[in-house]
């Protein structure tokens, strides 16, 4: 048993070495497949983060009448927070609103003076509501529409922004779905290319496989070395593709960071280095072993 296993492994290693060119070609194609897989995965990470950032920009604000009492507003705030659809509610009091206004219009003396002329603070207190999913704003808006709040709420900006919010929601949904679909198609094409390369490599050995069977080798004794080669192809391809991806991300990451400060790919890779390496290596091994296994099957029927 152990003698046979040892012979299978040794034979796989020797074949890998002696089939130098074929091994190199197979490893390179598998490297391309793995790089494609990882790139699709990383692009999806970027796309998801971009869409999340975008989704966070969508919120609705409720403005309160000037005579609305703060405890009433805070009571509504805590009710809103207890809703399942709501992620976060931020209270901006009349005074805070005034501060924000002043800050925003620092350079505009006319505006600042005119606001000082007034006896009372004209700015309304507001609640900024962020929903867990941007599609759920309609639910939040209808909650605010209840009769009991009508006398304290002056306006809800959802109705004004409804068209924009809906359109953005549609764009986000379409981008998520098409991004996933394009990624899956690309990953599948990469798989097909790698799979067929292994099939061609094994096709070129079909006569040897028949000879081995006629000399009295069992299916496992013939298949084993090809599986060992498949594992080797996968591991080496994974190592090479990682050596390409890390500098690639190092080069592209800062450019992306300037463009979208919310996304730091280098940090992402740094935090997920081992899982990424593990999944990529496993992906390579599964690809190599699966392709060899399937490709050799038809030649073992002797």
């Amino acid at each position: 048993m152990f003698i046979t296993l040892g012979r299978i492994i040794k034979s796989g290693l020797i074949n890998f070495w002696r089939n130098g060119w074929l091994s190199t070609a197979t490893v390179l194609i598998m490297t391309v497949a793995l790089i494609t897989w990882t790139s699709v995965f990383l692009s999806n990470v970027v796309l998801t983060s971009v869409l999340d950032v975008l989704a966070e920009k969508v919120d609705i604000s409720v403005y309160f009448n000037l005579d609305a009492k703060e405890p009433d507003i805070l009571a509504l705030k805590s009710k809103l927070e207890s809703l399942n659809e709501v992620a976060n509610v931020k209270y901006v009091s009349m005074n805070q609103a005034l501060e924000i206004f002043k800050n925003r219009h620092k350079g505009d003396d006319v505006l600042l003076k005119s606001i000082q002329e007034l006896d009372n603070n004209p700015l309304e207190a507001s609640l900024n509501i962020l929903a867990k999913d941007s599609a759920q704003y309609a639910v939040v808006a209808s909650f605010l529409n209840q009769d009991q709040y009508k006398n304290i709420i002056s306006k809800v900006n959802y109705t004004e922004n409804k068209i924009v919010i809906d359109r953005l929601n549609n764009i986000i949904r379409v981008l998520r779905e098409s991004g996933l679909a394009a990624g899956l198609v690309l990953a599948f094409i990469a798989f097909l290319v790698a799979f067929n390369t292994v099939r061609l490599a094994i096709y070129s050995s079909r006569e040897e496989i028949t000879v081995m069977k006629l000399v009295g080798a069992s299916n496992w004794f013939v298949r084993g070395p090809f599986i060992v080669e498949g594992i080797l192809h996968g591991v080496i391809a994974s190592a090479i593709s990682f050596m390409v991806i890390i500098p690639g991300v190092g080069f592209l990451g800062p450019k992306l960071f300037n463009f979208l400060p919310e996304i730091n790919l280098m940090n992402y890779i740094g935090n997920n280095f081992w899982p990424l390496l593990l999944f990529q290596t496993l992906g390579g091994i599964v690809l190599g072993v699966f392709s060899s296994w399937v490709a050799i099957r038809q030649y073992l029927k002797v």
């Binding site: 003698i3 046979t4 069977k213 006629l214 009295g216 080798a217 069992s218």
Partner: protein, 227 residues
């Protein structure tokens, strides 16, 4: 030892390789199967090593019907029969030594046994100094001697040789035939398929003649006579 009983092999209605072939081969015999190209010689040998299945009939090897063997038993049958082919069928990525050793490795023999036996067999076929060469570096005659060494090394009770001299010049041809005779004298049954008249007539052993897939003559000693 080996018995073909009403064996037929029909590929399709236009191509009938064997029709109801019956004959027996005893232990230590040297049998030549002769016939023109397409007479069914190769098919007969392929059926014996279960490379192909007959359309009808029974084939016995040591009283066991090989058609009733399960797929995973076939390697054990093939380890008892050494096969030599016209196109050598060596593994191109293995050296002469490794090609011969492979036949012992598949049977799970120990490294020490392999080292000992492979050296002896390579010596027997006169290729001790070419042990480290790959098939691409050997001449046709040398390749066939490696193939015979491989067929011989696990001490099979039968060696089947399908046109083993078909690709060789006269000098190499006689080297191979002398080797087969020697192997037979050491106690191994030999079944030789050939259409080489000179060899058959010189051998003066049993000859089974095939014509259009049927046995037309079975004589001991026989001669090469085809109508």
């Amino acid at each position: 030892m080996i018995r073909f009983e009403n064996v037929s092999k029909i590929y399709n209605s236009h191509s009938v390789a064997l029709k109801s072939v019956t004959f027996e081969v005893g232990p230590r015999e040297f049998v030549s199967v002769v016939g023109r190209s397409g007479a069914g010689k190769s098919t007969l040998l392929k059926l014996l090593i279960a490379e192909e299945k007959p359309t009808g009939g029974k084939i016995f090897f040591n009283k066991q019907n090989i058609l009733q063997m399960r797929f995973n038993q076939l390697p054990f049958l093939r380890r008892q029969i050494g096969a030599v082919f016209q196109d050598f069928k060596l593994l191109p990525n293995k050296t002469a030594y490794e090609n011969v050793a492979f036949a012992m490795e598949v049977a799970g023999k120990s490294e020490r046994e392999i080292k000992n036996d492979v050296s002896k067999v390579l010596d027997l076929v006169g290729l001790k100094d070419k042990a480290g060469n790959f098939p691409g570096e050997l001449s046709g005659g040398e390749k066939q001697r490696v193939a015979i060494a491989r067929a011989l090394v696990h001490r099979p009770s039968v060696i089947v040789a399908d046109e083993p001299t078909g690709n060789l010049d006269p000098i190499n041809t006689w080297d191979i035939i002398r080797l087969l005779i020697k192997i037979n004298e050491l106690g191994t049954t030999v079944i030789l398929a050939t259409h080489d008249k000179e060899i058959i007539n010189a051998l003066e052993r049993r000859v089974v003649s095939l014509e259009n897939g049927t046995v037309v003559r079975d004589e001991n000693p026989g001669r090469y006579i085809l109508s």
